[in-house]
């Protein structure tokens, strides 16, 4: 198996621990990451019903500080970053001048003049380079903090209880998309109520040398309530059910946020110019008047699973393309996200199918997300 091959893959601070847990490892953006520890379906269901523990140390942290940190990020990103209150976080994107998406990001503001930008592992260098270039003329520093943090996520309905037993931080006061410095199991951490699973949960940014200690403390705290270690395989099915896009699948440089149905992240009303503004204004008008293709959900009537790149068909014609697909543990059926021609994008549009290796299998067009947790 590939796990025994010598390689230059990057390993997280938790690497030895994953191996001791019997994880199947996989290459992800140059990192050797846990794909699953046992059954990925069991891991998925644990996050929906109890809790799951993830090593996400491959994510790319970039710190932006200084008097003009907010101004720089307002210029470099499409969101209203100056409007993020200290202690809160925002989902946003970084685009090219032509409006194409370079990456989707979460930006935390742990202090008034300090931001932490979290990029996808596959795009971290691109984002770092773009921010550094766009920082010219701003009184702000862009710092590569990829090696400064390990990231451990605990996700699922039991996660608040698990974390509460290990910290004095006011978790009840920590809202969704908030993040504050604190201490967990004696370890200094940025405690963020964010995630990529569609469940309540936390992401804990800690120094790499504290990662094993924190992982073990969380494992112990979650013992009685069904916490299990979870790999990237179930992370993908969890985010897919929650209708969350994944860069390289639903998002790319050839699409604008409006093409991806995420135009709400673009804040034209914010102060000053920002990279991509003019192109995005045109993209917004195009999306409103004559959208080329629309991101939709597809639910299988049969059991064959659509995969990224498969054609979506209607009446013998190709009308779109699957961007992500998987068997959904929660729905018990295969599901997919796909870009389809606007004429076929309405939920319930009849006659839509997916070409699964030459066979046209019927699919129902549905609104996203597939799954929404009961609050």
């Amino acid at each position: 198996m590939s796990s025994n091959e010598p390689s230059e893959k990057r390993r997280t601070a938790l690497d030895a621990l994953h191996r001791s847990l019997g994880a199947t490892m996989t290459d992800f953006a140059g990192w050797d990451m846990p794909l699953r520890y046992g059954s990925e379906r069991d891991e998925h269901n644990a996050v929906r019903t109890a809790a799951g523990l993830f090593d996400l140390s491959h994510m790319g942290e970039i710190t932006v500080t200084g008097p003009q940190a907010a101004a720089l990020l307002d210029h470099a990103l499409v969101g209203d970053i100056g409007g993020v209150k200290a202690g809160r976080a925002r989902y946003t994107m970084i685009c090219r001048a032509d409006g194409g998406i370079l990456d989707d990001l979460i930006v935390y503001r742990p202090a008034e003049t300090e931001y932490m930008v979290v990029a996808n592992a596959s795009n971290a260098q691109v984002v770092l380079d773009a921010l550094t270039e766009r920082a010219a003329g701003f009184d702000a520093e862009v710092r590569d903090d990829r090696d400064a943090y390990a990231l451990i996520a605990v996700q699922g309905p039991e996660s608040p209880g698990i974390l509460k037993s290990l910290t004095d931080a006011d978790l009840d006061g920590l809202k969704y998309y908030a993040g504050l410095p604190g201490t967990v199991a004696g370890v200094p951490a940025l405690i963020a109520r964010t995630g990529y699973t569609g469940e309540d949960g936390f992401e804990l940014f800690v120094r790499p040398e504290h990662a094993v200690e924190l992982w073990q403390a969380l494992t112990k705290a979650g013992e009685g309530v069904g916490l299990v270690p979870c790999g990237l395989s179930c992370r993908d099915t969890l985010r897919l059910e929650a209708g969350m896009p994944l860069y390289g699948h639903e998002l790319s440089t050839s699409l604008t946020p409006f093409d991806a149905g995420l135009g709400r992240v673009v804040k034209f009303e914010k102060k000053g110019d920002f990279v991509g503004r003019e192109a995005l204004r045109q993209a917004a008008e195009r999306a409103a008047s004559a959208p080329p293709r629309v991101l939709v959900g597809l639910v299988a009537e049969g059991r064959r699973v659509p995969r990224a790149g498969y054609a979506v068909v209607a009446g013998g014609e190709v009308i779109g393309e699957v961007t992500s697909g998987a068997p959904s543990p929660t729905l018990g059926k295969p599901i997919a996200m796909a870009y389809v021609d606007a004429a076929h994008a309405a939920p319930g549009t009849p006659g839509v199918g997916v070409d699964i290796r030459g066979s046209h299998e019927p699919y129902e067009v549905v609104a996203l997300p597939f799954y929404k947790r009961q609050k």
């Binding site: 794909l35 379906r41 059991r303 699973v305």
Partner: protein
């Protein structure tokens, strides 16, 4: 994991039982099942189909991917495991037992099937 001694193995990670009245049982190995992850859909050949050693005769879908199923021998399919069609997770939970895939009346065996020990070495390599 241990590969049962009484079975023989193909390099495509199928196992083949000894023949009873000329009929052998075929499945995929535990090694293959682990590599696939949770199997969610199996498409098997139909009873009466002729299968050929090393050629595709069905497919296995897991969370991450779809894989071809190969026959380890030439012959005619006499039975398929309906239990595994209804509950594909049997491939993961009992690959050498309840997760068997089909039975075949063997017409010809290729000469390069592996013993359990040979397959163990092959799949570790």
């Amino acid at each position: 994991m241990s590969n049962p001694q009484q079975l023989r193995y193909s390099k495509e990670h199928e196992w083949l039982s000894g023949a009873e009245d000329g009929v052998s049982t075929v499945g995929i190995t535990e090694h293959a099942a682990n590599a696939l992850g949770d199997v969610v859909f199996v498409q098997l050949p139909e009873v009466g189909d002729t299968v050929t050693a090393g050629e595709t005769c069905g497919e296995l879908e897991s969370t991450k991917s779809v894989s071809d199923l190969y026959s380890p021998v030439n012959g005619e399919v006499t039975e398929v495991n309906e239990d595994v069609v209804n509950d594909p997770s049997l491939v993961n939970s009992a690959p050498f037992e309840g997760g068997w895939l089909f039975k075949v009346r063997v017409a010809e065996e290729p000469s390069d099937l592996l013993s359990a020990d040979e397959y163990t070495a092959f799949s570790a390599g």
